[in-house]
Amino acid sequence: MAEPSAWSPYAAVLASRMRAQLSYPTGFALDVMGSLLIAVTEFGEVWVIFHNVHVLGGLTFDAVLVLFGLSNLGFGTADLLFGHLDTLPVFIRAGTLDAFYLRPLPVLTQLMTSELDLRRIARMVVFAITLVVGLRLSHVSWNLHNFALVTISVVFGTVIFCALFVCAASLQFFLINAPELTNSFTYGGSYASSQPAAIFPTPLKLLFGFLVPVVFTGYLPTLALLHLPGPELLPAWLAWLTPVAALWVWLVALVLWRWGTRHYQGGGG
């Protein structure tokens, strides 16, 4: 047998989590349906708005499909990888987090690999279809420039949303039993990221453009792909700086996480 690598404990946990989910096929099928339904209604909300108007914040429906696809692919992947961090408040309240501290592995990587929710893959299909259809309808060709933009947007969009999950989880060390605040960061961020940011008043543009930079995950790349100039404060060329935005949120996330894990005093017992 090969020498166990540093990754093998994580791989073992993940494999067992996936087997566990698949061992109840009916429940799993229902969960997948639920996940698909979420994606469809999220799309429905956008569609209802465009049933009433033709242009929203300078974007047509075709363009909004690209925006919706890009930002949600990023968020969906992050949710798959890091979404289960929102069970942290349960661990903190029940005192079971102590066990994570005792194992000779970093707490964050243990939590990250504590679950891989397979049903969350289902809705990614909806987002991917929306993106491809949107790109086709908007006549975006697959040249190197556009391919690079889509890749940067989805990859670093995922990285940005992962950091937001870590930020939100870190705050849970201070706010006992307030998972809803987590939602305003993560789900609120995702909701804001799939809107054409031109519609935001200046304070929201600053908030979602630079402090919690979710406009980098969908809106800015969409502008760049469609050669649109973009509103004040958010020019399209910023799309190429998405990795910088990702770096910024990860810096904040790691500082907050360090601060949070040091603050934790254990549940006693």
Binding site: D31, G34, E180
Partner: protein, 268 residues
């Protein structure tokens, strides 16, 4: 006062007092309400502007009222699909509950009413206030819409409770109600008009929505309290809500008695 009613009133008070313990959680809930409120307001304002100033009878001022009143009511109407009864069915504690000298469904309704009433103080009123101070709201200037509105909100909370109760009582037959609850959450938030008012739906979807109790949970109370529906319309709205309260309550009662017959208690 009949002793039964006194018991239920005590339960309402207990629900209220219990909720009052989670102050930080309330504050976090308010923060979430505000973030979503600002984003929703921006979207719907842009839609009204793009439509040339009015959209399905909404102006910037009235759509703002729609957004902030609905943000204010989110805590009370609890669209999440979870209800405490679900846990009690799953753990089997419901067996003890059946032996108590109160009606199971009404007892949980009373507690939920107390919970809902409390959330209006730290989450409901501040949301509406923030909306009024930042973007401005257009609200009626006569007392009648508010009086009818309060009644309509109470009915909306009751419909929401009865619906969640019915969904959670399915735990008598299902190993895990998470799938059903997710489907409920998604359908309910969309058809209740949380993200986009039901009034903006295309005709077929609008008709479909009103075949379910969901618009009566959120869209209707807002229509009544904001004065969008006045006089006869408001009375028709409230009558519709009363019908839905009766229907959803009956569904829950039938399921409860069927579940009660199925329940096997493993002694010990």
């Amino acid at each position: 006062m009949p002793p039964d009613l006194r018991t239920y009133l005590k339960l309402v008070r207990a629900g209220f007092a219990r909720q009052a313990n989670y102050r930080l959680a309330m504050l976090a809930g308010l923060a979430t309400n505000l973030v979503f409120g600002f984003v929703r307001a921006a979207i719907l304002f842009a839609a009204v502007r793009s439509a040339g100033g009015t959209l399905a009878g909404y102006t910037a001022g009235t759509i703002s009222s729609y957004v902030w009143l609905s943000q204010g009511l989110i805590g009370a109407i609890e669209l999440s699909g979870s209800a405490e009864i679900g846990d009690r069915v799953r753990t089997g504690d419901v067996a003890i509950d059946f032996t108590r000298p109160v009606d199971l469904q009404t007892w949980h309704l009373a507690e939920d009413m107390g919970r809902a009433a409390y959330t209006l103080i730290p989450r409901g009123l501040p949301s509406v206030l923030v909306g009024a101070l930042t973007v401005g709201l257009v609200l009626p200037r006569t007392p009648l819409p508010y009086l009818l509105g309060v009644l309509s909100i109470v009915l909306g909370v009751a419909i929401s409770f009865y619906a969640r109760y019915a969904v959670n009582i399915l735990g008598f037959w299902l190993l895990d109600t998470r799938g059903v609850r997710t489907v409920y959450l998604v359908t309910c938030t969309f058809l209740a008009g949380l993200y986009v008012p039901v009034s903006l739906f295309p005709t077929w979807l609008h008709t479909l929505a009103y075949l379910t109790p969901f618009p009566s949970i959120l869209q209707t109370p807002i229509n009544v309290i904001s004065g969008r529906d006045l006089g006869v319309d408001a009375v028709a709205d409230i009558s519709m809500q009363v019908i839905w309260v009766a229907v959803v309550c009956m569904v829950g009662r039938v399921l409860t008695s069927a579940g009660r017959r199925k329940l096997v208690v493993q002694g010990g």
